[in-house]
Symmetry: C2
DNA sequence: TCAAGTCTATGATAAATGTCATATAATTTC
DNA sequence: GAAATTATATGACATTTATCATAGACTTGA
């Protein structure tokens, strides 16, 4: 079984603040889980008893609204911690998490995290920074969602996906989404997203090959996202 | 000078987890500040070196977007803590805070808060719960903003204002907002907000007397907010 | 491999929302 | 308290966005 102490991904998240001893106990208590593309890791309303430390893969965090439509609230990838909000606030999860690529994640029981918070102020503060960062981003998204047009938001999304997930050797985004999922990030109807993607392609901002997507003119997209 | 130990408001926020000793030091270090309606407490981009524990009054937290429009992200009232995100993540503030009513708030230097986090795990965990709660709310707002119509969001806002700020003896909401501010909460144009308020009034959901606002049919508004 | 299902694309149209113009009401300032 | 400013209200219209319909492309599974 892999040891947390040797896990590289740990350097990218709050677990970096743990002591060697704490890591050892965590390593003993953790489970290594695998998920296939499409697997649901947990669902809105579920009670979970641990956090998931993502090693590889990508997942989406979404909320189902009254009329059955999915709103993607954010993505997570290697290094991110899933479910910490629920654990920390001792509430059921409020988002559904679905794998978008095959994933490997370590399940760390609640107790380990809460103990570490009690014992290790550095970890505690680091954890707070993570939540605070998420909160800052959520507020920024809220403001954008409220005030930008669909076109501007789609441009934002293209840039965000490139910056967050990078490109493969051919320059295509290293994340594959359906048009419906793109629409659900942007907060619009699938048809509207499709239409605007075609427009972006026509204007030379992006390239489309099936579901594969390449950002060609990031500066242009940036300008567009700011309303020019 | 008032003592934190005897402050009732403290019972409503994370400071309730502090020990008597911690409260004593905090009391010594804090400043009591007063703000008039309209005063800006801090601005997007400012560096602050402490948090504000609100005793009385109401303020709005907003973000200015590229085209100069204000987006109200949330409100705070007695018991809430302002600026903690910036302190915890050691970043400038990302929101502008403006008093909507005369306010009294205690300014607590950063050091006191960070020390308490290091020393007192209960406070630390309580603090985390607060941030996590804010994050949950922000995600929910994001999803609503993306998927609900302006009319639905306005209905939500009316209910939210009633639940959060209550009513005076005449049944009017205990918060006074301009139409522009209402629009800025909902995320729409001022004229659209005005039009829909008139419609709500005509349909008997609310009563309008100048800026004073009364919710008459909360159930009706709730149904409307869910798309009926 | 083909049939069924899903996804993407696009036109036509409807509905929602924003913008501009204008008028009146309320508030502020001198 | 009158003039100036700001806030509210509403009409007319433009623009954006959603919805419905249809068709072809792509996947998937028997």
């Amino acid at each position: 079984m892999s040891k947390c102490q040797q896990c590289i991904i740990r350097e990218f998240n709050t677990l970096r603040s743990l002591t060697a001893d704490e890591l050892k106990t965590m390593s003993k208590e953790k489970d290594v889980l695998n998920f296939k593309k499409g697997d649901v890791i947990f669902k809105e309303g579920n009670a979970i008893n641990g956090v998931y430390c993502v090693k590889h893969g990508i997942c989406k965090l979404s909320k189902l609204n009254a009329n059955g439509k999915e709103q993607i609230v954010r993505f997570m990838k290697g290094g991110d911690m899933l479910g910490y909000r629920s654990i920390l606030s001792d509430e059921p999860v409020t988002l559904t998490v679905t794998a978008l690529k095959d994933m490997e994640a370590c399940y760390i029981p609640k107790k380990e995290i809460l103990d570490a918070i009690k014992e290790n102020p550095k970890f505690s503060l680091d954890m707070m920074k993570t939540v605070c960062g998420d909160l800052r981003d959520a507020n920024a998204s809220l403001s954008n969602m409220a005030q930008k047009s669909v076109k501007e938001r789609l441009a934002d999304t293209m840039i965000f996906l490139k910056e967050t997930f990078g490109e493969d050797k051919d320059g295509y985004l290293d994340i594959v989404l359906t048009r419906e999922e793109i629409a659900s990030v942007v907060g619009t109807a699938t048809e509207s997203a499709i239409r605007l993607l075609s427009e972006f392609k026509k204007k030379g901002f992006i390239e489309l090959t099936g579901k594969r997507l390449k950002v060609i003119d990031e500066v242009g997209l940036l300008k567009l996202s700011q309303g020019f």
